[in-house]
Amino acid sequence: METTTLDLIREGSVVTVLEISGGGWVRRLYQMGILPGSQVKVVFNRGVGPIVVRIGNVEVSLGKGIARRIVVKVTQG
């Protein structure tokens, strides 16, 4: 399946994180549960503005700049 970045994922899709490339936010993302291998559901994404994802029971809002650095593959939806 083709890989893309989190900011381009349609609302409602579930993705698996493959890689987080650079930037000062990497460790913080790991600690929040967004790390290679984790399953993330995109709860909200309208192309503009921050996107919202759900990991387990928590929702996290990510700015576009951060989302662009998260490489994912779609597993559902």
Partner: protein, 695 residues
């Protein structure tokens, strides 16, 4: 009696750590800073079953890397202060993620008790947890607590006493393919007595593989020739694993939690839709800014009306209900407090007789106390409103809602809280920038939040607006708020453009969104108190000292003798020679020195502008005093603008220095405000002059 038990409280942000700390300590904490940092350290001593327990609240952290000052503090605390028990908090509603920190800490020390929070909330959300099973698997006590209701708190304290100093035999996370490398490195570290007496060798090995800054440095300095051997093993591990080792280790921990710790111990009943549909409106790029700004405006207008009557009074006045307007103004909180202090002052002068001493007592000391007390309820309500927004879970959503708008100005949604708090008081506003994750954005906010009109400035501006009267007077306050925000955003945009090379680089947002619930009064109060106390202790001390000193200056003549005529005082004489500075703002004539005098006093604390003008003109109230100055409407407008913007007050200057530890930055902040205020003041004078003379 046994010796004191030292307990550290550790947890991820939003797991309810401060709630639990407040319940455990019954609100009796001593707050200081961690040495060499601006991170707050709260601690309290309590008694339980004849034991004395000292509880230290450690800063909220997500993990144990060495990246943020909060994480460094926690690591240093565990390895150097030798606590008897570390209470690690896990949130039962998001157990999988919050256990991550527990697992990381268990790799460093076995003196752990786990407190699982928000048990009631988890239950109502269909989350069921087998705590005994988790406790058995982790090898340490696991206590479910509900801090708000107080359930489990006693049991937690008893376990702390029982386990004090006991190093539990804990589980080990297995790292699969990496295990062989960990063992090899662990053995090398175990060879160093110096290091292995302070840190568990296995933990050192893991951190070394993660390329942790501190452990790397320790290894380089203390392992001598073995260091190169360590690096070789790590290089080999990297080749074998084929991915970032830190990521591999994090993933293994997560998997371990999921498959070994929580398996069959956590049941999440499928619930119907937990989030209501309308919450989504906060995420939508079109509705979110409107909804968020709408809520913020309604909240602040309500607080302003209760505080000062404004803008309700101005509107009623315009509609012809002058009497109603003045009643509301008089019975607003600030009106009532003002009345009480006037009555008290009159009583003191009446019963003690008029002498320099009673005047000092009434105007210097009591006046100073009054100007602090007048602002406490005003700031209190701003903080209560924000606290309710924060605890209900609405504030993070509002931050997302305004993120796009703020982004255009080179800021992020993280800026919302500092900007909002500054509408109450700039001192806690500057302090609240600590929560902003990006350090460049934080510095920018420290520099810019003092431009936001605080409650003290609102009071000064309202008096000036009433004195100006008419159409221009009614629009003065809204005009200055709009100008202030425009300044903040324009400057922020400019700084952003100057400091970032990439044109499209945006300031990013990474925010956890807690579920929406009804705010708990207790938690709202803690939030309020947290920020209000900064006003009382920091700003309060400065204001009190300054108002005493300023009274003395106003009553000392050039020959260092007492004078009851303020216009003969040292400071008045100085103001006369400096008053030329205000001429470009249109302030001239016989009384222009009083305006200058007020500007000088206003640096000390903005609300002193009012009392200075009143005492210097000998008028009975601020409005009459402003009228005595005989300013034309254009020059009154430009003076109001200048006074609102020209400088952070002394308490804010002290806070800016405290937060940045840099004189360069503090002076930059003062210069920036002076230049902006002066040039805008001059500009406003000329524009107003043109507009008002045409009509």
């Amino acid at each position: 009696m046994s010796r004191q038990i030292i307990v550290g409280l550790v947890g991820q942000p939003n797991v309810g750590k401060s709630t639990l700390f407040n319940v455990l300590t019954r609100g009796n904490a001593i707050v200081t800073n961690w040495p060499g940092t601006t991170v707050e350290r709260s601690e309290a001593v309590i008694r339980h079953n004849n034991s004395e327990i000292k509880i230290i609240d450690l800063p909220g952290i997500y993990g144990l890397s060495y990246l943020t000052p909060e994480e460094r503090i926690t690591r240093k605390f565990i390895t150097e202060e030798n606590p008897d028990v570390i209470v690690v908090l896990a949130d039962s509603t998001i157990l999988e993620r919050t256990l991550y920190l527990v697992v990381e800490i268990l790799e460093l020390t076995g003196r752990v008790v786990v407190a699982v929070t928000k048990v009631d909330e988890a239950h109502s959300r269909g989350v069921h947890v087998n705590y005994d099973l988790i406790s058995k698997r982790l090898g340490v006590p696991v206590i479910p607590v509900s801090a708000i209701k107080g359930n489990g708190v006693d049991q937690l304290l008893s376990i702390i006493v029982e386990k004090a100093g006991v190093e539990s035999l804990v589980f080990r996370v297995k790292y699969g393919e990496l295990e062989a490398f960990i063992n090899a490195i662990e053995e090398l570290f175990a060879g160093s007595r110096q290091l292995s007496s302070k840190y568990p060798p296995r933990w050192l090995a893991l951190k070394f593989l993660e390329e942790d800054v501190e452990v790397e440095e320790l290894a380089r300095r203390q392992m001598g020739g073995v260091y190169s051997e360590l690096c070789m093993v790590r290089e080999e591990a990297k080749r074998r694993i084929g991915q970032d080792l830190a990521a591999f280790i994090s993933i293994s921990r997560m998997r371990f939690i999921r498959e070994k710790i929580l398996k069959d111990a956590l049941i999440i009943a499928p619930l119907k839709k937990t989030e209501k549909r309308w919450y989504r409106l906060f995420y939508n790029p079109f509705t979110a800014p409107i909804l968020s700004l709408g809520i913020l405006i309604v909240v602040f207008l309500t607080v302003f009306i209760v505080n000062t009557g404004f803008p309700l009074t101005a509107i009623l006045d315009k509609l012809g209900y002058t009497e109603l307007a003045s009643i509301i103004g008089e019975y607003s909180i600030s009106g009532i407090i003002d009345k009480l202090f006037t009555a008290l002052s009159n009583y003191i002068v009446y019963s003690l007789g008029e002498s320099p001493w009673t005047l000092f007592l009434v105007n210097g000391l009591l006046g100073g106390v009054a100007s602090i007390i007048v602002f406490i309820p005003l700031i209190f309500k701003v903080m209560m409103a924000l606290g309710a927004l924060e605890d209900s879970g609405l504030l993070p959503r509002l931050a997302i809602g305004v993120h796009l708008l703020l982004n255009k100005a080179g800021l992020s949604g993280h800026a919302l809280l500092p900007l909002s708090i500054s509408m109450g008081c700039n001192v806690p506003g500057v302090m609240s920038t600590r929560a902003v994750p990006s350090s460049s954005e934080r510095l920018k906010l420290i520099l810019l939040t003092p431009f936001i009109p605080c409650q003290a400035r609102l009071v000064v501006l309202l008096a000036m607006a009433t004195a100006i009267g008419g159409f221009a007077g009614a629009l003065l306050v809204p005009f200055i708020y709009v100008v202030s925000f425009i300044i903040v955003f324009t400057l922020s945009y400019t700084i952003h453009r100057l400091t970032t090379s990439e044109r499209r680089e945006e300031v990013d947002l990474l925010l956890e969104i807690p579920p929406i619930h009804k705010p708990y009064l207790k938690v709202v109060w803690w939030f309020t108190w947290h920020y209000l106390k900064h006003f009382i202790t920091k700003a309060g001390t400065v204001i009190l000292i300054v108002s005493i000193a300023s009274w003395l200056l106003q009553h000392t003549s050039l020959g260092f003798m007492y004078t009851d005529n303020a216009s003969e005082s040292i400071i008045a004489t100085a103001s006369r020679s400096l008053s030329i500075i205000l001429r470009p703002l249109g302030v001239s004539g016989e009384y222009s020195w009083i305006a200058m005098y007020a500007v000088i006093m206003g640096f000390l604390a903005k609300e002193l502008v009012l009392s200075t003008i009143v005492t210097a003109t000998g008028a009975s109230d601020p409005i009459e005093a402003f009228k005595t100055l005989g300013l034309s409407t254009p020059s009154a407008i430009s003076l109001a603008l200048f006074i609102s913007l020209y400088i952070p007050c002394l308490a804010t200057v002290a806070t800016i220095y405290g937060e940045t530890r840099s004189w360069k930055y503090t002076i930059l902040s003062i210069m920036l405000m002076l230049i902006v205020a002066y040039s805008l003041g001059v500009l406003a004078f000329h524009i107003a002059n043109k507009l008002l003379t045409i009509n």
